[in-house]
């Protein structure tokens, strides 16, 4: 009886496996016929190029065109092209979850559940099944240890309000970066707009991307980054640059960046194959190992020198709230920081 059950389970498993691989083969064939995936992404250029490269290695003959820019610019591009009837984008990826609420509402996304996303935590999955979290990014403080001694270094978000940092700090821009957009909302929820009004008094150097502060801190142009993508700080540090990452105890904004297939994708099969690949264990592990990112994949392991997410106090924001307050956040930020 017991062996019978085991055999049955085995048979069902084998059958499902062969169905899956048959589906795979059909998808791969259809994808290869289309040849190319147009990927509009806000993932850092070296990281997105590297994912595209490993995809091409796995599926010879396929090509991925990486169009990397900031989250808000990705949305602008997608919307501008859609309004003019230009159908170019296949796969959309930004770090502003609010974008996907908007895109879903406007019927611009294809409902597609990438293989292997079942066991992902709820925070990585749209309840209607249109988009899934490709990666999780922390927005942190960083400083240049060559210029700032350990005992002087800021430890909390509130420390950054100290006038001693005037002219020494750099910030990304929510009008460009989805990570910074989420960061601002998370801290507004924590401390209110007063926090940013006071922060602006320290005359910050305002760059666009959440990745740019890493280079600015490393070069010493501004020794303290008041926000920015933790994985990019981490990567910059690994390349031998003077960077120290600070994980503030008040809580760290956690940014889950969704990926989705466009409704009018000119290469729908190639797009599906590509997002399947993005959520595969291989690719998610690659993001963790090579790019220093966190992911929703339950089996992925992380480098020993990165803190575990469960040890950190995380601040998350709702996608709906991001969508609703997008314009307000940009407006307030520009009001305080000038541009």
């Amino acid at each position: 009886m017991r062996t019978g059950l085991a055999l049955l389970v085995l048979a069902v498993w084998a059958a499902s496996l062969s169905i899956a691989s048959a589906q795979d083969a059909a998808l791969v064939q259809a994808a290869k016929k289309e040849g190319t995936v147009m990927w509009y992404t806000s993932l850092a250029l070296p990281s997105s190029t590297s994912i595209a490269h490993s995809f091409k290695l796995k599926y010879p003959g396929m090509d991925v065109e990486v169009h990397r820019t900031g989250s808000q610019r990705v949305l602008q591009r997608v919307m501008q092209e859609a309004a003019a009837g230009v159908k170019t984008v296949d796969v959309i990826h930004t770090s502003d979850a609010g974008h996907f609420v908007l895109l879903k509402e406007k019927g611009m996304l294809l409902k597609y559940a990438p293989q292997g996303t079942m066991p992902f935590p709820a925070g990585f999955k749209d309840k209607d099944g249109f988009y899934f979290g490709m990666r999780a990014t922390l927005s942190v403080i960083a400083d240049n240890p060559k210029l700032i001694s350990d005992k002087d270094a800021p430890r909390t978000w509130k420390d950054l309000l100290n006038p001693k940092w005037k002219g020494k700090m750099v910030s990304g821009h929510p009008g460009y970066s989805g990570i910074i957009m989420t960061h601002v909302l998370a801290l507004v929820n924590l401390y209110g707009w007063d926090y940013f009004r006071d922060l602006a008094k320290n005359s910050l150097h305002v760059v666009q991307s959440a990745n740019d502060p890493a280079g600015v801190v490393a070069s010493g142009e501004r020794p303290v980054g008041v926000n920015g993508a933790e994985y990019f700080y981490y990567k910059t540090q690994k390349q031998g640059n003077p960077i120290k990452i600070i994980y503030p105890s008040e809580g760290i904004p956690l940014v889950v960046s969704p990926v989705a297939v466009a409704k009018d994708a000119p290469h729908p099969n190639a797009a599906k194959l590509f997002v399947d690949y993005i959520f595969s264990k291989d690719s998610q592990q690659l993001l963790a190992d090579k790019e220093g990112l966190y992911t929703g994949h339950p089996q992925v392991t992380y480098p020993a020198d990165k803190p575990k997410l469960k040890d950190l106090k995380l601040l998350s924001v709702e996608a709906d709230e991001l969508e609703k307050r997008n314009a307000e956040i940009k407006k307030r930020f520009i009001e305080y920081f000038g541009a």
Partner: protein
């Protein structure tokens, strides 16, 4: 019985606008018509979008734009910046032009070449290079200053209004230089000699005689530099935005962010358009005022002022100024392209070729963008030269009635800043009947429009110097207008037309302010890719692409000079 000839003469007399029937006529009329549509469509789109919405005629866009303090600040910033840029450009450009044309300064040819190098360096690339040179903390010049003096503070912060003015000025002065140099070369020394006889020293002569004579050209140079800096987008975006400084162009650009406000962009563009029109009109008036100057062309002698003991110090000063726009930026681009970390010295541990490898072999945008840029450069330069040639031919030989209005249309883009043109084209070509957005052809239209004035004026001045006799001869033998143009006049005008081609090509491959609104994923060009990379801070890769852009530019200039056998971008001789 009337002969065929008398009939055709009679017909011509009945229709005086047809000065002699010629199969070339449809081509000429078609070209003229194309030019007019090309210019009117974007402007019409802007005016319509700024005055109309679903509700009908409205001024609400203007009220919305001009009651917002942030927008007004952007306008004020632009006026301040452009005025200073105009002033500094006149000082540098004017002095340099005088030194080169009227004194015995050594190494004149090399200095001219360096001025030309500043002229063809895209200002956004120069601005980017200066962020590495004069960022207040990591900037290499500030590092050097602190190391030498032991000071705590920075010598110069490039991310300020002053920094922005400085960078825009060092890339705008060549415009003034070429205007003043032309004037100085034509002024005779008679009046200066008279001043000398009356006992004035060299400085007094320059101040009381040469300067007033050159004054109309200086004022007009100021206007040109002012307009040039008014329309720049890349430099203010790179240097101004990090310090919270918006200008008109960066503000128009942000109107395109989602949710887009094209109506506000249009309403914001109209005053810019009117301002440039007024300035160009003023410039025309100033230059048209003849009696003031002795600029006449022939007669009189020109003698070079001897600089004497000041010769070498002045030369070094000139070299210093040009090192700001050429040597230092080029050096830092090269250094950062070859470094892992740009802010520390370049030694073996810091040396890398990864930036080149990434830019050319891993980054999928590069090849696409380079391909698009070249394609657009070659097509626009070729079509642009062709149309400019035909239009210049029509106006120069007065072939169609109202030909002088064509001059107006061909020169009209001078008053349209690139980003305003792009707003108009975006509105005009993103909806049926003609959807060009999403292809490189919308960029082609933008570039063609933007470069028409330079191509046209180049072609026109070339035709001016060619007497119509030979053409008449060919027409008597039986060739029609187009055939004579192709076989007789154009070959004579060869070097002028090649120069026109080069001007347009170089203008196209460095264009950013219009491209930034019109590109799509498939129609990226190099300048847009560089700007994208700048926003993410990919410094090494930007440097590689910037160097590639400069190398191509210089290669094209050298190739053209080799073909023509003389300096293509020389001032009048």
């Amino acid at each position: 019985m009337p002969t065929a000839e008398t009939i055709s003469t009679a017909q011509v007399e009945r229709r005086p606008w047809l000065k002699g029937w010629d199969p070339s006529l449809p081509v000429l009329i078609g070209t003229a018509f194309f030019l007019i549509v090309l210019m009117l469509l974007p402007l019409g789109a802007i005016f319509t979008a700024s005055f109309w919405d679903q509700a009908g005629l409205t001024f609400s866009k203007y009220i919305e734009v001009f009651s917002n303090r942030a927008f007004l600040t952007a306008i004020w910033n632009t006026v301040i910046i452009s005025s200073w840029v105009g002033l500094i450009s006149v000082v540098i450009g004017g002095l340099l032009a005088w030194l080169i044309t009227r004194t015995d300064l050594p190494w004149k040819k090399s200095i001219r070449a360096l001025v030309m190098a500043s002229f063809v360096t895209p200002p956004f690339l120069g601005a980017f290079a200066w962020t590495l040179l004069a960022g207040p903390n990591a900037g290499l010049l500030n590092q050097l200053y602190r190391a030498l003096t032991g000071a705590e503070s920075a010598l110069f912060n490039i991310f300020t209004m002053q920094g922005l003015i400085f960078v825009m000025a060092i890339y705008s002065f060549p415009y003034v230089f070429s205007m003043i140099a032309n004037v100085c070369e034509l002024m005779s020394s008679d009046l200066e000699d008279a001043a000398g006889i009356l006992g004035a020293n060299k400085l007094q002569t320059a101040w009381t005689i040469t300067l007033p004579l050159a004054l109309p050209a200086l004022v007009s140079g100021f206007i040109v530099a002012f307009l040039q800096s008014l329309s720049l987008f890349g430099a203010p975006a790179i240097l101004g935005l990090p310090a919270g400084i918006h200008t008109i162009t960066t503000q128009i650009w942000t109107f395109f962010q989602y949710p887009p406000r094209l109506d506000l962009a249009a309403a914001f563009s109209v005053p810019l358009l009117l301002a440039t029109m007024l300035l160009i009109a003023a410039q025309k008036k100033i230059l048209g005022r003849k009696g003031y100057s002795t600029v006449g062309g022939k007669g009189g002698q020109r003698r070079l002022v001897r600089l004497g003991r000041a010769r070498i110090p002045v030369f070094l000063l000139v070299l210093f100024v040009l090192s700001l726009s050429v040597f230092l930026p080029y050096w830092i681009l090269l250094k950062a392209a070859l470094s892992k970390a740009w802010a520390v010295p370049l030694d073996w541990a810091n040396f890398t070729l990864d930036n080149f490898r990434f830019a050319f072999f891993q980054y999928s945008d590069t090849q696409l963008a380079i391909f698009n840029t070249f394609k657009l450069g070659i097509i626009t330069a070729s079509v642009g030269t062709l149309i400019a040639t035909l239009i210049a031919y029509i106006t120069q030989r007065n072939l169609l009635r109202g030909a002088r209005f064509l001059t107006f249309f061909a020169l009209a883009p001078l008053v349209i800043p690139g980003i305003v043109l792009a707003v108009g084209l975006f509105i005009a070509y993103t909806q049926p009947p003609v959807v060009l957005y999403g292809t490189i052809w919308i960029l082609f239209v933008a570039y063609l429009t933007k470069e028409m004035p330079i191509g046209f004026s180049q072609a026109q001045s070339t035709f001016k110097s060619i007497h119509p006799e030979l053409e008449d001869a060919s027409r008597i033998i039986g060739a029609n207008r187009l055939v004579s143009l192709k076989d007789v006049t154009a070959p004579l005008a060869r070097s002028g037309l090649i120069a026109a081609w080069c001007f347009i090509f170089i203008g196209v491959i460095r264009e950013l302010s219009a491209s930034i609104l019109l590109f799509t994923a498939k129609s990226k060009v190099v300048s847009v890719v560089i700007f994208d990379l700048k926003e993410e801070g990919q410094i090494g890769v930007i440097c590689v692409l910037g160097i590639a852009l400069l190398l191509v530019t210089f290669a094209v200039i050298l190739a053209a000079q080799w073909v023509v056998g003389r300096e293509v971008f020389a001032t009048r001789e």
